[in-house]
């Protein structure tokens, strides 16, 4: 990241949008919850099956810190360029809600485990740095199920404490984000880093939950809660910008308040204003003794995997791919792993083109992940292309067919007869096309360039598209 781009960046753009995000990340790759030994593999089991006196908050139970959760949090902190606190210190955040079985949440307040880091993203005006204020550890509350839909309309509410006590890392950014699109890019980048660190399975529901603070032109900010997807974050923020702009245009005033994002309707609704804000009465949690972690950080730093930005640079230098390809290939860990597997066996630049420009698009279109396409198939396909056995057009068709119907490139090429037609066949077809269409030949000779296209179309028809278009064009021009 170039420091100067930060300085060049206007503090506020013309709309004056300032967005800060708070992301609750579930450290769901741990074996157990943050303060008890309950296992985390509850997703396929019934409600309240993964609980104990501690995560049910039964009278007399006490929390014990999960050291692995501390290590994971340090790992994330280091990957975000944060400095790590010397000791863990937990606080009680006091509020009453039925999903909170103790009547308080154990969280961090002063002395968060990690603070002052950053993530670089592709901003509206080049690469920008989004500063991380802090990352702090806390416990997840239980899950409420409002029978009959919304909290207002339900007759009763069921509580599932399986989620109660799952380790969360809350990552809080500075208000450095300038647009909903940047917010989405930030979230995608963060998810990518977390996947590289192997601390979160981001495919599980609720593994990354977002609250967003947004203000316009230095006015009061609203906080939007309950955003469950990155796309949702972009939509909620867009809605908020429009709402706040309209409010200001009509001479109204934006008040500091908490709003709820209704994903189904795509709108935000007011929950409470500043006057109604909670006083959480934070005070130190005496049941957890401070754990010295300053000594842990250097060891954990050594185990950090190569992160997306570093891998992108390496792809450029090691495989000679373009920066755009390197960025696209490293934006998801699985794609980058897939690419490297293919690149060791075939021409890495050609592989980059076919994975970044073609395969990713086809996967996106079908809403599929990279695991829908076998690495061996990509190796075979790139070889066919490199050896000039099939045309690029056929290459795309091979990918589409495999994704839609299965099979291998060799199967598809054989079944569809996609092998490039040999020289004699093409020459014969060109010869035929010229003899059969004297008018077109005449037109070309008199200067009508498009007549060549007509002749090419005839040749393609005769060869069933297996001829190389460029070659055919040259042959026709030479012949007439």
């Amino acid at each position: 990241m170039r420091e100067e781009s930060l300085k060049l960046r206007p503090y506020l753009d013309e709309v004056g949008v300032m967005i800060g995000l708070e992301i609750h990340v579930q450290l769901n790759k741990l074996n157990t919850k943050i303060f008890c030994g309950c296992p985390l593999d509850y997703h396929d089991d019934g409600p309240n099956t993964h609980t104990c006196p501690v995560c049910l908050g039964l009278p007399g139970s006490l929390p014990v810190i999960n050291r692995k959760a501390v290590e994971y949090s340090i790992k994330v902190g280091l990957a975000l360029g944060c400095s790590i606190e010397e000791h863990t210190q937990f606080y009680r955040k006091n509020y009453y809600y039925p999903d909170l079985p103790k009547g308080f949440q154990i969280t961090q307040y002063d002395y968060p485990i990690a603070s002052k880091g950053y993530i670089n993203i592709e901003g509206e005006d080049g690469e920008v740095r989004i500063r991380i204020n802090r990352a702090h550890m806390e416990e997840d509350p239980g899950r409420l199920l409002h029978e009959g839909g919304s909290i207002e309309r339900s007759k009763y509410t069921l509580i599932d404490y399986n989620r109660s006590g799952v380790a969360l890392l809350e990552i809080v950014t500075e208000p450095d984000i300038r647009s909903p699109k940047e917010a989405r890019r930030f979230l995608d980048k963060l998810r990518n880093i977390l996947e590289y660190l192997d601390v979160v399975d981001t495919t599980l529901e609720g593994s990354m939950r977002v609250d967003a603070n947004i203000s316009l032109s230095g006015g009061s900010r609203s906080e939007v809660k309950n955003i469950s997807s990155h796309k949702g974050a972009e939509r909620a923020l867009l809605f908020e910008i429009v709402r706040q702009k309209n409010l200001l245009r009509r001479g109204g005033k934006v008040v500091q308040e908490t709003r709820h994002f209704d994903e189904a309707r795509g709108v935000t609704v007011s929950l409470r204003t500043k006057e109604e804000a909670h006083d959480y009465r934070y005070f130190p949690e005496a049941d957890l003794v401070p754990l010295k972690v300053a000594d842990l950080a250097p060891g954990i730093a050594k185990t950090l995997p190569e992160l997306p930005d570093a891998r992108r640079q390496r792809f450029i230098s090691q495989y000679g791919v373009t920066d755009d390809h390197a960025k696209s290939l490293t934006s998801e860990k699985q794609v980058a792993d897939f690419y490297e597997q293919v690149a060791t066996e075939v021409d890495p630049k050609l592989a980059a083109v076919w994975i970044a420009d073609v395969l990713k698009g086809e996967l996106n279109y079908r809403n599929l992940g990279i695991d829908a396409f076998a690495g061996a198939n990509m190796v075979q396909l790139v070889k066919l292309l490199a050896w000039d056995k099939i045309t690029e057009q056929s290459g795309v068709e091979v990918i589409r067919t495999i994704l839609d119907e299965g099979g291998t490139p060799d199967d598809v090429v054989a079944a569809k007869g996609l092998l490039k037609a040999g020289g004699d066949l093409v020459t014969a077809a060109v010869e035929e096309a010229i003899t059969e269409n004297p008018q077109a030949v005449e037109d070309y000779r008199s200067g009508k360039q498009e007549a060549v296209n007509f002749l090419m179309g005839q040749v393609m028809k005769k060869t069933k598209g297996r001829a190389d278009a460029k070659e055919v064009r040259e042959m026709i021009i030479q012949r007439v």
């Binding site: 009453y96 079985p101 009465r281």
Partner: protein, 471 residues
Amino acid sequence: MITVSQTLENVRDSSAKEVVSQCIERIEASKFNTFITVAKESAPEAAKKSKNIKGSLAGVPIAIKDNISTKGIRTTCASGILGGYVPPYDAHVIERLKEAGAVIVGKVNMDEFAMGTSTETSHYGPTLNPWDIKRVPGGSSGGSAATVAAGEVPLALGSDTGGSVRCPASFCGVVGLKPTYGVISRYGLISYANSLEQIGPIASNVADMTHLFNVVAGHDPRDSTSVPGEKDYTNALVDDVEGLTIGVPKEYFGEGIDQAVEKSVRDSVHRLEDLGASWQEVEMPHTKYALAAYYVIAMSEASSNLARFDGMRYGLRLEKDHDWHTTYSEIRSQGFGEEVKRRILLGTYALSAGYMDKYYLKALKVRTLIKQDFERALKSTDVLIAPTMPTPAFKLGEKISDPLTLYMADVNTVPVNLSGVPSVSLPCGFSNGLPIGLQIMGKHFDEETIIRTAYTFEQNTEFHTKAPEVA
């Protein structure tokens, strides 16, 4: 009163089942309202099983304060809000007792959620002092001390947040220990003020108290504040104080102290001097701030610790459900007693934005100063000796309507909890037939020295041989 050695003998001569059933008969005939729940079904079962247990307390009945979780036995904290709550798990100390073969005969009365000095705030009515039924047994572990004093059981567990073991031990003429913070696991102890409290053993004499302490003390990974290591505290049962230096803090003999109490305590120091110890006056200048700091910290912690009692998963349930906020406040309005509500409100206030610096954070600073007082005083001395309570047991109803006067009674016990040091109370005299308690405080994790001092005093005096006439 009954001793452990006597009880073990009775178990040998008859059977644990017989001993336990006689114990339950005594409890049911009690005139002092000592028990909230008698374990009439599980106790005989446990007595039968104890035959096969080699532990040091095999077949010995024990009473448990009703804020310690007992699997399968109702645990109420003497509060209406926990009516019918049966814990699905045992506290660490209960596991240890069962391993040692002790038989839990029931749950004893206390001030509601351990908030009190007289056992008068119990939802189940006050416990009476066996020495004089017009007087309080002290609190909050009033049931634990009274049942031992009345000779109903040989042993009991209490808990001490600001004197809750030592005060009733003093008022009932028995021996009670508040160990160093971290020595006994709090896992399963229902928190009132979690940074201050410890479970503590109560018995009719120092040796029995030490045997019980030995069983329940020790490391537990489920309590992060539990310290590692195991010790055999019975090694400290030595009749010898030769060379011991006693500190006598003058602030502990301040305004409001009963003359007879002061005399008994000073006589006790001289008795120990006769036995080979030396003594000196020490200064603990911040003692006067201890009460205020204690109550701010204890109430602040309580306001958070008691937030979980919402009647959703266990405890009191209302006939009719309303929305969440209404239900939550109605259950708590009905379930909690007046003193508990007072402390939750005051604690909530002390932690609120704008008041936190003035109260809670200031109290933490005082706490540090009190700790330093103890460190300084115990640098040149081995133990500190003072009255446990400034007076003998007061009358039922005498102070309950005036919380401030009642809080003042804790003036000599709360500094110990603020600093975390261990302290034992044992009988050292009588005033108009009411027992007087001697408080011996020691260095962090040096229970041995206070046990040795208490044991030597007891071996060379007669106070512990007196018992109230209960028949």
